[in-house]
Symmetry: C2
Subunit: 425 residues, 2 copies
């Protein structure tokens, strides 16, 4: 097969006729498919629903002498703090176990910067004229939505195969208005990249002009391998501490993609100084979080090995889905030279970069044929991808047979968009 | 028995000798008792732990076509919205089902005033020079802690037997800096007063100078009778709407004292206009709350009658405890003329007003004898009771036999504090 960019106009027209016919046939099936969000499938949820048998009316609800059913222990059950400490490679006293969603804890962490300031801020950020924020992109749309909601000026930082482009970051943080940065360091959303040791070292040793710079370290996919074994990952708290930056970072994690999305347990990890300050603020906000659910998770997993064992089961469902996406791309798209993509071993996405200027058109064609994809542009600040190129593929939700159909629509749509663009030039 | 204020010095000295001896004997027992917080007892928690049998691995997790285990439905499961709508007397579309704690939703509602402003604010409150807030007192210390955390200037409004003194409120709201008010309208914390129909009418028809005035209506004890039958209570949303104040109020409720404290389900109720605005803001904060727990509660209670039936069981445990507190006060304190108190039929507290100037001393004597009480002053803004008189008694946590001991210590301590004061004058 010739690459599209090497085809003559006649060849392009001939190819378009073929692709259009295939696309029309797919469209005529009136399908309704969804690869838009990183939602676990029903099969995954069924697989972990035995967690609901862990606590029963006659269970022992005591954990370290605490009745998990009553008020108290703002920072979470000690046993749950220990479980997450082992997962993140930190000490239990660095862990705060919060509600059922890490996104909410991230939002709250930033909200408190605005209303109260950080532990080392001169004043609440609401009293600053301007807050700028570094957004490695492609990135997680919900991070950018938080930044936008608070009126931050978002600055796009290019992603490399080793993480955010640190030359760019080191230059930008010389501006005192730059107050923080979003990071998804392991299996980044959407690229699935693992930040390299050197990138992590450069991040941990940053010397931002803003002394209350906030590194938002969203370790959403810390144990989320779908190909191969668990990959250990450095602890960012001790890395930052090594360079005198102990208070710079808040790390986040949750069981949303281990047990139930939005109904699991979430945590943040931070320095003791940050913990003391944040607990004082949180003490005005909440008496205690859902410790019944914390205890349920502790008893279900027992320890880190218990978590990793469940992740192997998730991988047995997710692996074939990612294989399907990657195989379809390799077979249908690679020979045409109209896109390139990462080949992740974990996380929840495949990040596809089409030839410039066709992501939106591809999205639109998918939609018309009954396939909902993440909005083109969503992976960039303000929803604006300057190249109109990046698309996030989320293969987790549909059953595998639907996924084959969805990828057929996706590849056909991308081909058609590319052909239309090349023929219009 | 003579009232203390009518005793001669010789009689006071004789009485003090007797009381001191009794107090010393109690103290010598080395007890450790707690009547500080409105925590349900283990017996209550055991009684509702059958809720943990409602959802099992093989349950049907679909509710109105929604898999409760997955992301989605920010505003909560329709069935859960309906359950709370029936409890509060509003429409399901006025209900937002949030996390496991209404206190957090109250905090967040106010935090968003500061970071984003209300639906009808000119600017975020963080950009105002001053925010004043009306605090009917005695009131709930955690409300005041929220206000203090945001740097509000709290203004104490006296409580009457019908609710906040509305003559005072109507005068104070002429100040545009006064942006809101805390209310616990049914079985107020700590007085256990039910706001009268006339008070509610005057609140609902307020014309505050601040157009974005926020009425925080914490209906924490909406179904929490411990003596007698359920008492219906007017819906504040429609009351406010009647007077053109539909957007003024946010109402809050939770199952913290129905199922598990801090591990139940909480809601806010508001106008459609507020709902639309708040959902837009919440969309940046959270994907969805814990719908598994929502479904668990819906299946457990089925409907309002199911909730009321459980509350009868709670009353069977709480009623004798409140009877014990009131009987002890009637027998030991009433004849002495050193305190008066409300006689509530619901809620979680008995509010005792000692003669001026002895609440702190009473608290200290209790503490030394092994009884922890809510801090004297805690029921007032900034923890400062100008009369040093109000004390909140929380009888729910200790088993009844401990409660008898606790009340013995409490009454003896109060007597001793009164005698010490009268003898020092």
């Amino acid at each position: 097969m010739k690459q599209y960019t090497e085809m003559t106009k006649a060849e392009l027209l001939e190819e378009r006729e073929k692709v259009q016919a295939h696309y029309d046939a797919l469209k005529a099936q009136g399908l309704s498919l969804n690869m838009a969000r990183g939602k676990p499938s029903k099969q995954q949820l069924d697989m972990v629903s035995d967690i609901l048998d862990v606590l029963r009316p006659d269970s022992d609800f005591n954990s370290d002498g605490i009745d998990a059913r009553n008020y108290g222990n703002l920072e979470g059950l000690p046993a749950c703090r220990k479980l997450f400490a082992d997962l993140l490679g930190v000490k239990p006293e660095n862990i705060f176990v919060g509600g059922s969603a890490s996104l909410q804890m991230m939002y709250d962490t930033i909200a408190k910067c605005y209303t109260h300031g950080r532990v080392n801020s001169d004043k609440p950020w609401a009293r600053l004229d301007k807050v700028k924020w570094l957004c490695p992109a492609p990135g997680y749309d919900r991070h950018f939505t938080i930044s936008e909601s608070f009126g931050m000026e978002m600055i796009t930082v290019p992603m490399t195969s080793e993480g955010p482009d640190m030359d760019v970051v080191e230059e930008l943080i010389r501006d005192e208005d730059v107050r923080g940065m979003w990071c998804v360091p392991k299996y980044s959303n959407p690229d699935g990249i693992i930040y390299s040791a050197e990138t992590i070292r450069r991040i941990a040793s940053m010397k931002p002009a803003a002394k209350d710079f906030l590194l938002m370290w969203d370790n959403a996919y810390i144990v989320h391998e779908f190909f191969g074994d668990y990959v250990p990952f450095p602890d960012i708290l001790s890395e930052c501490a090594k360079y005198g930056n102990a208070d710079m970072v808040f790390e986040f994690a949750s069981t949303s993609k281990i047990t139930f999305p939005g109904a699991g347990v979430s945590v943040f990890a931070c320095s003791e100084h940050n913990m003391e300050y944040t607990k004082k603020l949180l003490n005005a906000q909440v008496i205690s979080y859902d410790k019944v659910n914390q205890l349920r998770h502790v008893r279900y997993f027992k320890d880190k090995d218990g978590v990793l064992a469940k992740m192997k089961l998730h991988a047995s469902i997710l692996g074939p889905k990612f294989r399907c996406v990657l195989d379809n791309l390799d077979r249908e798209i690679a020979p045409l030279g109209i896109a390139h993509w990462e080949k992740p071993n974990g996380g929840y996405f495949v990040s596809v970069n089409t030839m410039p200027g066709i992501a939106r058109a591809t999205w639109q064609l998918c939609k018309e044929a009954g396939l909902t994809m993440t909005g083109a542009g969503a992976t960039f600040p303000y929803g604006k991808d300057p190249q109109d190129s990046n698309m996030r593929v989320a293969p987790s939700l549909p059953p595998i047979e639907q996924l084959e159909q969805a990828m057929d629509i996706y590849c056909s749509s991308m081909k058609l968009a590319a052909l239309n663009k090349l023929l219009a030039e």
